[in-house]
Amino acid sequence: MPQAEPVAAVPTDAALIAAWQGGDEQAAAELVRRHARALARFLSGAGALEADLDDLVQETFIRAFRAVGRFRGQCRFRTWLLTIGGNVLKDAARRAKRSRAVPLGEDVRATDGDPHERAVAGEAEGRLRQGLERLSRMQREVFLLRAQQGLDYEEIAAALETSPGAARVHYHHAVKRLKEYLS
């Protein structure tokens, strides 16, 4: 009976970080592959234009890899990365100082499904983006980390250096304001 090929264990983020710190460039590339899409979604939700997304994602990873010695595992690597992404986006907005056109919702550009349904869904997303712009940065980030990324309050609090109770208040406040705006 032929022996089964041993399944290669998937390295953890911590192992990849340690490998990168030891000079392994491919470990850094693997961390990018693993987290780039979640980061792009977060940045897009936080107001980044799609045209700027690649640059913002790259800049976030560059900053993260250069500061990785300060990452103490207080939260997951991805969560830490998302908070750095928030800072990168804020710095970019400050530099650009340009008015941001609200992009069409993703579903408007998609080619599958019923065109009317896509248009309605795209409009709702556009309104949500506008609502998110009206929140404070803390409320917006707590809302996205919770509703979009599915993180719990303890994780959010550790990443944003606040208490879980305060994170919960920011979330409820964000939901209330978004509902008011969307209704």
Binding site: L53, Q58, E106, T162, S163, G165, A166, H172, K179, S183
Partner: protein, 142 residues
């Protein structure tokens, strides 16, 4: 339509769809290679190289900043009660915008001595005693 007609699940569903298309269109492999190339080509700059200044001047500037910082800290300590009350005021403002069910959920999550069980359904922030409000603010500020 009132402000609470949009269900939480619908809002969450919208939030989860946000940016999905843009993220899918991102060329992750190209991004990964670009990040690796940038890390290789541009090692982290030292502060002195980045600002183009001599280390000796940097030491002098650091000493001046340290002195200024110490002065500010001394002044800040005198005003600490005002800063604290501002912080508490901001959290209290956030709390006052919560509906009674949201407030009840927040209180339940904080593991306070008076929990969700004893909390009347329609009571808002105004239903808290001074001691309860103080305990809630203390718990929220960690």
């Amino acid at each position: 339509m009132n402000s609470h007609e949009l269900p939480d699940a619908k809002l969450q569903e919208l939030a989860q769809r946000l940016g999905v298309g843009a993220a899918e269109r991102l060329d992750v492999e190209r991004t990964a290679q670009a990040v690796v190339t940038r890390l290789r080509d541009a090692p982290p700059l030292t502060v002195t190289a980045r600002l183009g200044i001599q280390p000796a001047w940097l030491k002098i500037a650091a000493a001046v900043l340290l002195l200024l910082g110490a002065g500010l800290v001394t002044r800040g300590l005198r005003h600490e009660p005002r800063m604290t009350s501002t912080l508490v005021g901001s959290v209290a403002e956030d709390l006052s915008d919560l509906t009674p069910p949201q407030l009840r959920e927040t209180i339940a999550s904080l593991d306070l001595p008076w929990g969700q069980e004893s909390w009347p359904v329609d009571t808002g922030l105004e239903g808290l005693s001074a001691d309860e409000l103080r305990a809630l603010l203390r718990a929220l500020e960690g």
